[in-house]
Amino acid sequence: MESDGRAFLTRQLHDAPTPGVAGLADEHLAHLAGALCAARQRQAEELTAASEQALAHIPRLLRGPVKKIVG
């Protein structure tokens, strides 16, 4: 867990936390940032797994165009 919770949270939110949130203890800001970081990581992993799995269900003819769009 990063020591500067506020900076960690700002990075995770891509935005400065509101004054009330910024006033929380640093360890709590770090926990919040860590939870968001983990949620984004899980989501990214699920998206990657689902994209790969989805290709098996897609007709061969469409797999190329789909891959091209998804990147």
Partner: protein, 234 residues
């Protein structure tokens, strides 16, 4: 069920913390340190967390774009069998309204209810407005059966009048009470009650009395019209 000893502001705070916990995939107790924050601060934080998760560096938008070249039936299969409710909820708001409504019409109600608990209604307001009231009612009935009061309380603000009427039609007074207490946009309460019909508030008041929640209901008075306030017991 709501604890009869807590205040209206605490109810709102608890609902916000539970919404945030669901988004982050943690148990609400882990976020206990947020309880000193006022509900508007928590709402703002949830908005920021939602933006961060629903952006996903453009991946979700590319997924939605790719789905456009697939037949709707195949998208339905993929949503149910591969993507699941959480990812489907993230992608839904990026689809064209007609397409999303067509796909929703083909999905089973329990799956739609799962998706509903993961949605950010602000991002799918147009879609919610275009889904037939009968489908909204079926999903509402499923959410009520699951006692998903917070999901229901989040949605009412974004439904058109016909859908509000349909959703209210499947909720009994105790359910409406639970939903009213955690309604996200309390300013909308008087409008929802207006749509619900004249005796709804009286029935909710009876349910509140029976559940020992009259004080919490009374705290919502400020959001009611003078005529509605008059329906509450003195």
């Amino acid at each position: 069920m709501v604890d009869s000893t807590i205040s209206s502001e605490e109810l709102e705070r608890n609902a916000e913390i539970r919404r945030l916990a669901r988004l982050l995939g943690v148990v609400p107790d882990e976020l206990d340190y947020l309880t000193p924050l006022a509900p508007p601060e928590l709402r703002a934080l949830r908005g920021q967390v939602t933006a961060s998760l629903f952006d996903a560096r453009g991946v979700l938008a590319r997924m939605a774009a790719a789905s456009r070249i697939l037949p709707a039936g195949l998208v339905v299969t993929l949503a149910e069998r591969v993507f699941g409710p959480m990812l489907a909820a993230r992608i839904a708001g990026l689809l064209e309204v007609d397409r999303a409504v067509d796909i929703a019409a083909r999905l089973p109600v329990p799956f739609l209810a799962d998706v509903a608990t993961e949605l950010d209604p602000r991002r799918v307001a147009d879609i919610l407005g275009a889904i037939p009231p009968a489908t909204i009612a079926a999903v509402a009935a499923e959410l009520i059966a699951r006692e998903e009061w917070i999901a229901m309380g989040t949605f009412y603000a974004y439904l058109p009048p016909a859908s509000v009427r349909a959703a209210i039609g499947v909720a009994d007074a105790p359910a409406l009470l639970q939903i009213a207490l955690v309604l996200e946009d309390k300013e909308r309460l008087s409008v929802v009650l207006e749509i619900a019909g004249t005796d709804t508030l009286s029935r909710i008041a009876v349910a509140a009395e029976a559940a020992g929640l009259s004080a919490q209901l009374r705290a919502l008075e400020v959001y009611l019209t003078p005529e509605q306030r008059a329906q509450l017991p003195a």
